[in-house]
Structures are given as C-alpha cells and as structure tokens.
Symmetry: none
Subunit: 420 residues, 2 copies
C-alpha cells in the first residue's frame, strides 16, 4: 500500500507559483503512516496527464491529484482522469446547487463556465469543497486503486484533506503502519562533523537517522515505522536522547523549535531580558527574536545604527575605536553590546557588525567578516569573529550572523543553568 502525489498545472512547470501542496501532503501522509515514494508535476495537457496516470496507477494504490479543477478551459483534470479510465462524466445536481449557493452568498450569479465543475465520472463520490466552487472526488475506477482530487489552492486543498480525506483514509484502515519523524536541530557544528560524531546511528534501519544542512543549521531527522504512534515514539525516544547527549550544546531543539524560541524560553525561565544593537543585519536579529509570540516577556528592544556617528551617539561607541579599528571590529562590537545593554537596562546585550556584501569588502576585511558582541549580566563583554565566506549571499550572511548571535546567548544561558 502506497500513495503517490500528482500535481497538475502548467503554472507549476513555468515556475509562476511555488508548489506548497507537496510539502503539506508529504507531512500528512507521513503522519498517517501511508508510504509515499514519488511526487510528479505535470502540465495541463491530457496526453501527458494520462502518461503520469499510467505510471502512477501501476505503482501506487492511492493517487492524490491536485489542481486543474477550476472553471476555465485549461482545467482538465476531472475529464482526463475519467477518459483514462474510460468512464463517462455526469452532471451532479447537488454540485450545481452548491456552486449557485456560493455565488449567491457573494451577491453574484453562477457563470456558465462554472457548470463544468459539477461534472464527475459515473460512480465517483464527491469530495466536498466548503470554501470554493472546485469540489473534488474520491473514486475507485478499479479494484485496489483510489483516486482523490483536490483544487490547487492550498487553503481549499488543506481543508478538504483534513475534513474529508483523512477520515476516509482512516476509515479504510489504510496507513496502520505509522511513520513518525522527529527533526533534531543543531547550531555551531558542520554537517560532516556531526555525521561523523553520530555515524553509528546513520546505518540504523528503524528508526532511520538522516542529516541535512541549510544556512548554517544542521538537522538530523529520526523516522520510525511502527504499528502505533506510541510504538514509533518508543523507537525514537532513546535514539533522540543519545544523540542529544553526544551533541551537547550544539543541539538546540527539535521540530518547530527555533534558535529564537529556545533562547526566548531560556530567558523567560531565568527571568532575564535582552536588547540588541545591529549594524549589517539592520534589524534582522530583533525581527528574529520577536518572531516568537510572547517575546515581549524578555525582549526590550534594539538600536539599529547603520551610521557611524549614530553608533557613537546612541550606543556610546568610541570615536577612536571607529577610527583605529573600524566599524567592523571586535572592539566596536563589544562597545555596541555594552551600549545597548546600558541604554535598555537589560540583562544581556547582543550586537552584530559586519560586511554582508556583495560590495564593501576589502582584502583585510572581506565580505562575510562579521563580529558579534556579547555583554553579559555581570557587565563583561566578549566578541566572536565569524568568517562566513565571500561567496555567500547578502541575506544568508545576515541570517547566519543573527543565528550565531542568538546561539551565543543560548550557550551563555545554558552554561549558567549547568553551573547554577
């Protein structure tokens, strides 16, 4: 038993829109424990849609098809599926009534083009769309094959999936083998380095452990397959614990945790506050900290001082440090951190100054050179030098810098917990 996802839409092939549906469906199928090995995108072309149907119906028992249910001539998913399985279409009066009612709600009349959205293959069950005019179907065109169709609009697809498709799949008793995943997240260690530390786990077969990396962060995904959610969880738990112990402070959280949420929780627990002074990140560190709801409990605010004079006025950076060492220097970073801590009377001060590029680099101070300043609770300061490489994009350099700053604070708070 496996499912396969087919997304229909020339706009996906042309890159006009980002395909978010595969991510949603992938997560959902994994949670239901329904294996899913292939996703295919195909344009609004009947022959090619039929090619994909032939391949997919040969290797999977559930086909999840999104897109092509609209009222315009290029929306051909329903009729193409019916034609492939040599089944006639019929107009469903309940769908006509449903579409008319939805138009009436907005004070409009159903347009003639919408009539085709009421056509379904004979024998198909309607997969009701509570939001729009594009209803889908649940259809068994032959034994051991079920096709479910959804509109391409993510909000509509997701709601139809959750309200109708999931109960249907569970009722069929499909997916009694649960796949449960947990993603462990790490900062301050490279992918190959971490992979070597946990190499013995990478060969496991259940659960499996797989690393991947993105923008300075490394993740390990632990996936377990079992009869029940609890059994799968029981397979994951010991591995998760062992890996956490091996990784130490480089492990920062799991799944939806972020450096901002984890650091925020540590601040909340310690009843401490932070303020930030930013140059090259321009507010990105503050934005990251406040991406977490409830961050007003520990984040007091920040100063973005792009201009050197303002670094002096607002943050108390010394003119001689700026002149002798430059704005991008460890000394200035430390003064910025201490300055903002004083200004906001916060427990911690964090600062970032660097060269995000693509212009502005020199041989001595290349693009990607960033200094972090940390002012601690007891008014000490220290600096961290980052060399993020001249090849990285401006936004990536800014993102990684802000993450490193949060990570420094996180490690300080963890160390205090350990020693306290």
């Amino acid at each position: 038993m496996s499912a396969e996802v087919i997304c229909v839409g020339t706009e996906l092939l042309l890159g006009d829109i980002l395909n978010r549906n595969t991510q949603f469906l992938g997560r959902e199928l994994a949670n239901l424990g329904i294996p899913h090995y292939f996703q295919t995108v195909v344009g609004d072309n009947p022959d090619r849609i039929k090619q994909v149907l032939a391949i997919a119906s040969d290797r999977a028992q559930i086909l999840i098809v999104t897109g092509g249910l609209g009222p315009t001539p290029d929306d051909i998913t329903t009729e193409t599926i019916a034609s492939f399985f040599e089944t006639p279409l019929e107009e469903r009066p309940e769908l006509i009534a449903d579409i008319e009612a939805k138009f009436a709600q907005r004070g409009k009349k159903m347009s003639p083009s919408n009539r085709k959205q009421a056509l379904m293959p004979v024998g198909a069950q309607i997969l009701h769309n509570p939001m729009g005019s594009a209803s889908g179907m649940i259809w068994q065109p032959r034994p051991n094959l079920t096709i479910m169709t959804f509109p391409g609009v993510p909000a509509e697809m997701e709601r139809m999936w959750t309200e109708t498709a999931v109960p249907f799949l569970q009722q069929q008793g499909w997916g009694d083998n649960v796949i449960l995943s947990r993603t462990l997240r790490f900062w301050g260690i490279g992918e190959s380095n971490l992979a070597e530390k946990v190499s013995s786990y990478l060969d496991l077969s259940n659960p499996t452990v797989a690393p991947y990396a993105s923008k300075g962060e490394v993740r390990l995904r632990i996936s377990a397959r079992a009869q029940t959610q609890q059994e799968a969880q029981a397979l994951i738990n010991p591995i998760e614990k062992q890996i956490q112990e091996i990784a130490g402070f480089d492990y920062f959280g799991a799944d939806e945790d972020s450096l901002a949420s984890v650091t925020g929780n540590l601040l909340l627990e310690a009843k401490q506050t932070v303020a930030v002074a930013e140059s090259c990140t321009g507010g990105g560190l503050g934005a990251m900290l406040t991406s977490v709801s409830g961050s007003s409990g520990y984040f007091l605010g920040g100063i973005v001082a792009y201009d050197n004079e303002l670094k002096q006025q607002l943050l108390g950076v010394k003119a001689e440090s700026l002149n002798q060492e430059g704005a991008v220097s460890g000394t200035v970073a430390q003064q910025m951190a201490l300055g903002v801590k004083k200004q906001f009377q916060s427990d911690w001060g964090l600062s970032i100054t660097g060269i995000a590029g693509p212009s502005g680099g020199t041989a001595e101070k290349p693009v990607g050179l960033v200094y972090l300043g940390i002012a601690t609770r007891d008014h000490q300061t220290y600096q961290v030098e980052l060399r993020l490489g001249e090849q990285r994009l401006r936004d990536t350099i800014r993102h990684i810098s802000a993450c490193h700053a949060l990570d420094q604070l996180r490690r300080n708070l963890l160390s205090a917990n350990v020693s306290g």
Copy 2:
C-alpha cells in the same frame, strides 16, 4: 528536445522542507525556451531513483537532477546515476583540492566523509560549485542524453545553474523558441480589483497576462513566446507600458524589484534619508530596508522599542498618549515616527506599532490592527490604520505591515517627484 527535473530527497517526500528548486528551474527553463513537461520528486532510495531515471531518460533529452550530493551515506545521487548507466566512479583530484581549500578558508580541515563528494562517473565533466563542497556534473552517458546534477541547497544550485549550466545549454544551441516573462508588481490594490482594471489584457494569447497574489502583493506576469529574445521583448514592452499607466502608483516595480529596492532608489535619487521606529515588527522594517546592498546611502538606522517605557525614553512618546490611547494607536505611531526622525536627524521617519498575534488581541483592538506613522521632511506627521485580519499568521502580519510602511514612503517620494 525537452528537459525534465528530478529532485532527490526523502526530506522532500516527508515534507520536512519546501521544494523551491522546481520553481526556480521552471522559470529558468521557460526563459531559455527549453520545454519541460514533468517534474519528479523521489526519496534517497537507489531502486526508486533508478525507476525515475528510466522513465525520464526515455522521454527527455536533458535531465536536471537536484539533491543527494552531500557527504553523508544517504547522499547517493551520483553513485546511483553512475550505476544506472553502468559506469564506474573515479576520484577527481581537483575536487579534493577544491573541498580542502574551502574548509581551509573557514579555518577547518576537510573531514574524511567529504571524500566521496570528489567521486564522479568516468567521462563526466565537473559542474563546479563555487560556494560549497557539493559539486555537480554535466554528463552524456549516451548520445542524445545529458544529465546535470546540482546540490539541493537553493543558493548553491541557483548559482551553479546561472554561472555554468545556462552558458552550457546555450552553447549547445538548445531552446531556440524563447519564452520571455516579465512580472509586474503592485502594492495597495487587491487582485480582483487589478484584474478588473486590466481585464482586456487577460484574454491575450501572445503575450499572455496572468495575475497572482501573495501576502498583500499582486503580480501580473506577462509571458511572450517568439523566435528571439528581442522579438519576445517587443511583444512585452507595449503591454507592460499600458498596464503601468493603468495602475498608476499602485505599480511599484518589475521582476527582482522590491518595495525596499524601489523606495531605496527613490531616496538615493532625492538624496534623502530615513530612520525607523518599530514595535511589533521588532526590526523587520529595518531588515527589509537593509536587504538591499548600498542601503547605507539612505538608511541611517532605527529603534526597536518593544517596551512602553523605552518608547518614552528613546522616542519621546508621551506617557499620557500611552495611557489614554494605548501603545497601539495612531497617536503613538505618529510620535514614534517623529521621535526617530529627530533622534537620527533623518529626512523621513517611519514607525509601526500593532498587534501581530496570535495572542494580545481584544474586541476593540483585534489581532491584525496595525498603525503606521509617517514623519515627513517638513516635520508633519500622519498615520495609517491597517486591519489585516485576525486569521493571518504573526509573520504575515509583520511582513505586510513593513511593506505598507515602505509603500507609504514610496508614494510620498513619487508625489514629490510629480509635483517637483
């Protein structure tokens, strides 16, 4: 002649990450005029990757494969492709040297696991990765079939594509029917509203005009098909001009333009500066302004005042305004804008205060209520009230608010140009 995109990665099937590569590659292939009819996602499984290779190599002449080039055991793309075409792998000394040099740049040693990234099928040309250790290949395993591999990390893939793959494809003379697209971008007008204004253009067949909306922004994509780049451009130009005229100030730019870059250019031209005061966006407005290289030419800095006392101290917001009208009010927004303008001695002051949610809303001041304050060059202030809806996500509310603030400044600068 057609291309096909294959994305390898179990993390894509499980929905752990969003697949952005297909969108980028889809756009690029369209621009090159290389037809592209199918995209497939498959997990890190040799048998299933081979199934996909068999199907794709049967119907396309160019296979673009992303993902699975990392140093860990589940990265098996190169070896699986080689095995499918029954070709041995060989270690490339130049890749070993390249990886070692990249590690050295960051003061690190290459780890043994990275060695496998230097393995390529005999006869394959290296597709150099200027950013990371995962180089790809351009390989003709048999006549009339070219395989190109890329890492899954979008920034690396995109750069390798642009710098190496595109020149290679053009040199081969592939893609002689050019599809050229231009995306016009609008702020301050809804999708259906704009669609009605330009409705006569939506029925054109060459170029085609299609609207999209995302997070408050509306886009119109103009796509033309022609024999040459110039002919396609000539089809697009008049339509673009006409639509711009219809949209007026609601049109802000095209393609890679952003509200931040467009507003920044207007500031540069006018030799004027801006500073920002932020509450609920926490630095996001500053981060948006400074996402543009060269923003130090007009962005002086900002103050993030999450705390009410600090709004008084640093921005001169009046205690009585905070008490009587609350921190989320037009009066406070105006005082913040004027305060930061004074503090930074900038030409313009922009401020944002609001309720980003999901908690913190009341009946009177619901989640999504945001006030913008604008302090103009002549020390006038005004406010804009936004009601962004309680159903939107925290990050979306923050993003839209920052865009609206930039848009206000943009309209002010444009008006001055018109009247000046």
